[in-house]
């Protein structure tokens, strides 16, 4: 502001008015983000250090000091890691095919991505409970094909959980990767081949680094969504796979232990922030 005022004193009131208008334009959104997002999260941090006797770190001691809750945290991380790895292994090659598709085929493939993305999580998780029941369609099909003789137990197993989570979070992996792959200039790979690089070397030295921003975005998104998923574990595996998310819900809705629930929430939040910070750092780093 001072610079503008010094160099062009006549223009200063106009600049001020433009700034004022800009501040006025962002004010409603600022009030929402500050009042209904930032402040409540800070309050939650405060509540996590409180119990019936006042200020305490007992909530964190219980969460990070008992084997049961360490197992719960590991369950959350395991769900996030397995979902992210499997979703990446499927999405990465598929994104290249999607980028090459043209015409109606591309429309159909994109529709199969967008429809599940827009569909309700509860509806999709419910569909998997129908598919994986012991008298469900997957078992009936396997038996009809003679692959198995008796129905195998699938629902309420870790397999069901991971299949459902991968299914629900896959679009969040492939879309950012596809957005980058679609812009990939094929001449880089051709140049590498002309200069004598084998396909494997071309892939690891040219294609993989060029598509890394999409991979980082997809991995960060899918991990932070699946590590904190609530509906999917509740419907597909239930009580025997407690996660941080189900622990938070239990502490607030059943046990009435807001301090402990808040501490679990802060740990989950810390994981999410770590993922975002790491991905932002990785995508900024020069190659």
């Amino acid at each position: 502001m001072t610079e503008a005022a010094l160099s062009a004193p006549v223009a200063a009131p106009a600049v001020d008015r433009e700034r004022l208008t800009a501040v006025g334009f962002v004010l409603p959104s600022f009030v929402i983000i500050a009042g209904v997002f930032a402040l409540p999260l800070m309050l939650l941090l405060g509540v996590s250090f409180v119990d019936a006797n006042g200020l305490t770190i007992a909530n964190y001691k219980r969460l990070l000091g008992t084997p049961y809750y360490l197992w719960v945290i590991w369950n959350s991380l395991r769900l996030g890691l397995l979902t992210t790895i499997i979703a990446f292994l499927i999405s990465y090659p598929a994104a290249f095919a999607l980028a090459r598709a043209r015409g109606p085929l591309r429309s159909v493939l994109l529709a199969t991505l967008f429809l599940p993305l827009a569909a309700s999580v509860i509806v999709k998780a419910f569909a998997w409970t129908i598919l994986l029941r012991s008298d469900g369609i997957v078992n009936e099909t396997l038996m009809a094909l003679g692959i198995i003789e008796d129905p195998i137990r699938m629902i309420f197993t870790e397999t069901a959980l991971i299949v459902g989570a991968v299914n629900i979070f896959l679009p969040f992996m492939i879309l950012p990767i596809y957005a980058i792959v679609a812009q990939l200039d094929s001449r880089y790979a051709e140049a590498a081949a002309t200069l004598g690089a084998s396909p494997v070397v071309t892939f690891f030295r040219v294609i993989l680094p060029l598509t890394l921003p999409g991979i980082i975005a997809g991995v960060a998104l899918v991990f932070s969504l699946s590590v904190s998923a609530y509906v999917v574990p509740t419907l597909l595996i239930g009580e025997k796979y407690p996660t941080l998310a189900t622990t938070i819900a239990k502490a607030y809705l059943l046990a009435r232990e807001p301090g402990f629930g808040a501490a679990a929430g802060v740990v989950l939040l810390a994981i999410a922030i770590a993922v975002v910070a790491l991905s932002a750092r990785l995508s900024r780093e020069p190659k």
Binding site: V15, T21, A22, V23, V26, I32, I33, V36, F37, A38, L39, P40, L41, L43, L44, I90, A94, F96, A97, L98, R100, A101, S107, T112, L113, F114, L115, P116, I122, V123, K124, F126, A127, W128, I130, L131, R133, D135, G136, N167, L170, I174, L175, P176, A179, P199, L221, Y230, V231, L235, A245, I248, A249, L253, A262, G265, L268, L269, A272, V275
Partner: protein
């Protein structure tokens, strides 16, 4: 790429498409089940489950509540988010980059954590009316979708077009209405649809703010599924899916799905 790699890519893409679409097809098929145990309608279809949706306990109030909250929060977020995006895009705002990040950041936060934080926050200030708390909470759910889409939409908009319209004799509101609004219509549509769906489908935030009489549709649905799942729920799910298909079809006609893929990064 080598031939083998191309084949692997196509196998993965087609496998992925089938894997994503199968649960949706199964739920639609199961909604016509002739028996109460989710049989596929191979031996005869029944539409009776559709007639039973309206008789689900507490269905109509929950549907109405979810529609009200989703529509209102989307409209408010569209107004607030677009104004903020204009200020950010015009570059007259100090700290615009940080604010743009802050606006989108709730997208990356665990929904459940936001839910308990809001429950604590609303309690602390004595704001406990369920309908109003749900609406205010859903503003934080919908605003990031609007902000993200409108910021990237406005980045492509040439603000000198408004000046040009004014030079040609348009009033300021007139030039905004006749130049800017049509140019941004596709972004509005995409932002509106995703924000509506995010609110309509939200469970992890709503569950902490609802009470016995004020339950959104997702809360009801999870309750039905846990208590007594029967093909009525498949029928309800199919209707919700059909509504989503229509929304996506209309937006594809108007903007094109390809463009939606571009804006979602």
């Amino acid at each position: 790429m080598t031939r083998a790699a191309i084949i692997v890519c196509w196998v993965m893409a087609i496998g992925l498409a089938l894997f994503l679409i199968i649960p949706l097809l199964v739920i639609a098929a199961a909604s016509f089940s002739p028996t109460p145990v989710f049989d596929l309608p191979l031996t005869g279809a029944s539409t009776r489950w559709y007639g039973r949706i309206g008789r689900l306990d507490g269905f109509w109030p929950s549907l109405l509540l979810s529609l009200q909250i989703a529509l209102l929060s989307t409209v408010i977020s569209l107004v607030c988010g677009t104004l903020a995006a204009i200020a950010i895009a015009r570059g007259k705002l100090p700290g615009a980059g940080i604010f743009a990040t802050a606006l989108v950041s709730p997208l990356m936060m665990p929904g459940l954590v936001l839910g308990i934080a809001l429950l604590q926050g609303f309690r602390a200030v004595g704001f406990t009316a369920p309908w109003a708390t749900l609406l205010v909470a859903h503003l934080v759910i919908t605003l990031p979708y609007v902000a993200r889409t409108m910021i990237s939409g406005l980045a492509r908009f040439d603000f000198t077009l408004i000046e040009a319209a004014r030079t040609l004799g348009c009033s300021y509101p007139g030039s905004v209405l006749r130049v800017m609004v049509p140019a941004l219509a596709p972004s509005f549509l995409i932002a509106g649809i995703f924000s509506f769906l995010a609110s309509f489908d939200n469970y992890p935030v709503s569950i902490f703010l609802a009470d016995v009489r004020t339950k959104t549709l997702p809360i009801r649905m999870l309750q039905y599924i846990e208590e007594a799942p029967d093909p009525t729920l498949a029928a309800l799910s199919t209707l919700i899916l059909a509504g989503t298909v229509i929304l996506l079809f209309v937006s594809d006609r108007v903007v094109g799905l390809h463009r939606m893929a571009g804006t979602s990064d």
